[in-house]
Amino acid sequence: MVMDGVVFLFRFLPLFILIYFLAPVSLRNFVLFMGSLIFFAWEDPMYVGIMLVSVLLDFVYGRLISLSRSEFFSKICLFLSILTNTAPMVIFSFVFPIDKGIMGFGMYMMLSLSYVIACYKKEVISQKNPLHFGAYTTFFPVVYAGVIPNYKDMASQLKEREYGILQVQKGVSKFITGLAKKVLLAGTMSKMIAEIKELPSGYLTVSHSWIFAIATFFLIYFTASGYADMAIGLARILGFSVPENFDYPVLASSVTQFWDKFLITVVHWFRKNVYQNICKEKSGILLKIIATLIMWTFMGIWFGRGVNGLASGLWFGVWIALESLFILKVFQFVPKVVRILVTHVIMIVGFVVMTTPSLSVALYYLKRMFFYGNASIFDTSVIYLLGKYSIWIVFTLLAALPSFNHLMEKMKMASTGSGMGFYRVVNKLLPAALFVLSIIYLV
């Protein structure tokens, strides 16, 4: 079920929330679990089949690991868990590729696997209630959006959580902000991309290909961050506190820093469960580089499609490795604007590779971007294209920067007067206005 579709927003979600809050507190995890299964089964019942089996297995592995006293037996359980979780991901990435996008097949597996690993490392006590475990691993908005809350943080919330109007209001406004980001901003970007994709080779100027690449970057950013906001908002309405997944990545001045601000929970997961298992803080530089490359290979496969996913993962991995070797040291002497610019060119190139259907298509756009061949640099249709979407381009840039949020924070801090009044009015009306605006562009 797409989270920005009519069926979700006007059928599933209202009904789900109604049942959730009418149900006694003790049954809410059950409602959540069932809701998640219906959410995923709606489009592909097969998917839920695989999901249920792997959730059940991981629940059992978790219990076995915590009950067993033998290190060897725990290791076998962990190994089996890794195998059952990664096999479908590899199969659906390379053997029978499916269009998985951001809400990848691997999402609930990562949630589930991180739990088993945490059990193995004795960081958490294994979950005794399969319903609680099921509610955590299949938590639909979170799984759909690619946000991975730590099991450790979630365990207590699964048992007991707070409900309140302030929570709900914050959740609602976060949810609507996410919806607007996805529908209005990512929607505009994908329209621009579609228009440029239609251009035959002879009409694709260098400027077109840059607009294509930059729009691709913002499309991914606002799709992922829009869904993440919807997930975090919805989780908050339901009483959960889920970590942020984005922290204004456009301000990043190195690739390393970018990935500290982009898909934060996912990168953190890979760092914890892949990178840190290969090398430690004190390990030598060579091992660290190998670990980085392995981690980013996995990231690429998880995030992108087939060979393109792999290539983009390696691209980011190599840059991060180079940064740790010397680039960051050189960067100290470079003005921040230049650093930000260079970082984004690298990111944009990577995102073009990641999202295009094959390497040859990626190369087609990249060559054009970097003046390879004798395509013209610019024609007037570029101005028309930018003019047509200008207002949404402005909003996209504004939404990528923290200025509006800073302004709202300042207003909130103002104890009296017009600042406070402005804050209160905006706070009350903005979600409703954004909601209506999103519907206008969603129909």
Partner: protein, 370 residues
């Protein structure tokens, strides 16, 4: 901010949003399904039939999502709001239509669609000239060319003039009709409809005069006052009444309908006039001229015209011009190349005499698309 105030604000915000949500939701649940979106000119998805198999395969979900999206409450009103917002931000593009100055609507003719067809077009022109040395070629520039200054600023638009110049040079003066100059010199007059892609009757008269003038046979002159309106409120193929109700008038030259003609359509129908008045009240009133689109129409005009005959290869742009040619010919054969599925060359050879003129009268875009 006081805690109580914050809490009260939170209640207000949540209740306000939920109210809007619920109203839309309830309205969406109770409203009846629609067949068609007028604004989008699109048939809307129907409620899918439920079956267990379809549910399991995921097909039901896909169909239901399309249905819910298409049948969303007040769909056209939301779309209209979107277009209004676009217009407010000076985006003059709706569906595949540019909204130009003075309520002129234009088709979006992308250079990348037509430029690659030019070479083939030029080849076809030279082929025609070789085959029929006395052929006249009249390629009609569309309004996007003649009225280009009314298009939105910098809107991509296929440059027809450049192609016409190339074609004119390759054909040579003897076989070429310069319709660009004919229309461009009258671009301040209403030579095109506002809400339809075709030429108005006035535009057609200028084309008729250009051709007959070039043949030095122009005997009948028509003035604007010789025309009468046969239909007010014509909503053409580019009009989107939900956005802006652009209407035109369908006109006809009164003088030419002096005597009945014998018209034979390729579907076996016969008629005594080249104009079909019933079509004025059909979905597309422009079909009034020649009764719409047919592959082949044969006309016995009833004039002797020294036994002269005419074969016209045309598209819909030429439809209103044909009636003006009636007094000049004994017989007229009208072939629409897109609709005529027999051997066109064989037909021309069979009907060619030393008194037969052969004329191509098509829009540039139509010609290139063929």
């Amino acid at each position: 901010m006081k805690w109580e105030d914050e809490k009260r604000d939170a209640w207000h915000a949540v209740i306000f949003l939920c109210l809007i949500w619920m109203i839309i939701l309830l309205a969406d649940l109770v409203k009846p399904d629609m067949d068609k979106s007028l604004l989008e000119n699109k048939i809307l998805a129907k409620r899918p039939v439920f079956s267990m198999e379809k549910l399991v395969s995921g097909e039901y979900a896909t169909e239901y999502e399309a249905y819910a999206q298409d049948q969303f409450v007040s769909r056209d009103k939301w779309l209209k709001l979107r277009l209004d917002i676009d217009l407010f931000f000076r985006v003059h593009e709706v569906r595949d239509i540019y909204m130009g100055d003075n309520s002129y609507m234009f088709a979006i003719l992308k250079p990348e669609k037509y430029e690659p067809l030019e070479e083939k077009g030029l080849y076809r022109i030279s082929e025609l000239v070789q085959k029929y040395p006395n052929i006249k070629l009249g390629l009609i520039p569309t309004k996007e060319c003649i009225l280009a200054e009314k298009l939105p600023f910098l809107a991509p638009n296929y440059k027809q003039k450049a192609f016409l110049e190339k074609a004119g040079v390759s054909v040579g003066e003897k076989n070429w009709l310069d319709l660009y100059s004919a229309l461009e010199s009258h671009d301040k007059e209403k030579v095109y409809y506002k809400g339809d892609s075709h030429l108005s009757m006035l535009g057609c008269i200028y084309i008729y005069e250009t051709w007959m003038g070039s043949e030095k046979r122009l005997q009948r002159f028509y003035q604007p006052e010789d025309m009468e309106t046969v239909l007010f409120g014509f909503r053409g193929n580019l009009a989107i009444p939900q956005i802006e109700d652009v209407t035109d008038q369908i006109m006809m030259v009164t003088k030419i309908t002096e005597k009945p003609v014998a018209v034979l359509y390729d579907n076996g129908l016969v008629a005594s006039s080249l104009m079909d008045k019933r079509k004025l009240y059909s979905e597309y009133p422009y079909d009034y001229y020649l009764g719409g689109e047919y592959g082949l129409i044969q006309v016995n005009t009833g004039y002797s015209a020294q036994g002269r005959e005419l074969i016209v290869l045309k598209d819909s742009y030429a439809n209103p011009i044909i009636p003006l040619l009636v007094p000049y010919y004994k017989k007229i054969y009208i072939i629409d190349e897109t609709k005529y599925h027999e051997d066109q060359d064989a037909f021309i050879e069979n009907h060619m005499t030393d008194k037969t003129d052969i004329l191509v009268l098509e829009s540039i875009t139509g010609f290139l698309e063929n």
